[in-house]
Point group: C2
DNA sequence: CCTACCGATCGGTAGG
DNA sequence: CCTACCGATCGGTAGG
């Protein structure tokens, strides 16, 4: 796929595109084998370059991982912030539905988050912050729902937010192990219905 | 710690004990680094033997992993089967409480289950079967509760069982990333209270 | 239970 | 963007 025969249109013109190509290959490899298990030679081979060439675009293997996580960040942010209250819950189901269509992203987060629970892991802090952010957004949405009277009685926004995020992660493990065993989006929808007031 | 100076009491007398020592070291290493990331040399070094000696007790690295999983199986089975109906839900909270006291086991399952979502992984089938078993037991308990009228209206045993197991797994990821951020047992208890009829 | 060693693979450097 | 190469480490074998 890589290694076009057309050549560059100007000096450095292909660098940004090359970085992108590399990150997509790294994304694939890390999704399948994790960070520890994925090799730079494998990443390079898939796009037909020498593994040392990666080090002209990224200073180290962990820098490559940082690039992959940054790239996914851009893709995942939009949407969740805009909707208010119960709208966010519907968007969470939408996120799960999208994950179900793009297993690669689900694999990446699943394997990397588990690997990154080790304190020395290069993605450890990134995942810690990601959970603070994700749980925080969900909590804010639930608090907004509470103010609007959309939240079912007895639901604590802070603890419920942790459970919702935990449920999403846990469903993914079962789904990745056996994709026919579970319908993640349906499970999520059914669960979230229990959090809102019955009328919604 | 290992390598006693007393010598053996008889031929092969120490073999079973040695196997046990090796498995405990392997358990530690796989918990911290996963299967791919954990090395036989590390496992051996922790108990003061050469890594090749491991291969006198286990035929390969994946055989070592199988031994570790088998060992944990023995530890985890008791209890869950005995109690009936709502008693099982209380025991689930007890399991979570125990996980919270022994982080090593939690780490092992978390990192290995994510790694083992890859189809070629030596523990892939083990985890698939484990989920069938765990979800199945939980489902049976919920069905028993339904027959006794202990289950809240609208709760589907099969899908609820998948969610309960998913919740346990997901809580563990957040907990391992930041142990002060979450009280797994309390979260579990609070959630399960929502599954039973209010009187229980 | 050991030493000695195998071929393979790892991330990264040197130098062009 | 490459070749050539580094030292380290991997799982496993041979042979005692």
């Amino acid at each position: 796929m890589g290694g076009s025969t057309t050549g560059r249109r100007g000096p450095y013109a292909g660098t940004a595109a090359r970085r992108r190509t590399i990150l997509e290959s790294a994304f694939e490899v890390f999704s399948e084998a994790g960070y520890r298990g994925g090799s730079m030679r494998d990443i390079a081979q898939r796009i037909g370059i020498a593994h040392t060439t990666l080090l002209h675009h990224f200073s180290s293997k962990s820098d490559l991982l940082a690039g992959v996580l940054e790239l996914r960040d851009e893709h995942d942010q939009p949407g969740l912030a805009e909707a208010g209250g119960a709208g966010i819950l519907r968007q969470l189901v939408e996120v799960v539905r999208r994950n179900q269509r793009t297993p690669g992203l689900t694999e990446l987060y699943c394997i990397l988050s588990a690997e990154a629970t080790a304190p020395g892991h290069p993605a450890h802090e990134w995942f810690r912050e990601r959970y603070v952010r994700t749980v925080g957004h969900t909590r804010a949405a639930l608090e907004q729902m509470a103010q609007r009277g959309e939240l079912r009685e007895g639901v604590d926004p802070a603890r419920e937010a942790q459970r919702i995020v935990a449920l999403m992660d846990g469903l993914q493990v079962q789904w990745l192990l056996d994709r026919d065993s579970i319908d993640m989006a349906a499970q999520m929808r059914e669960y979230l219905r229990r959090v809102s007031v019955p009328e919604i």
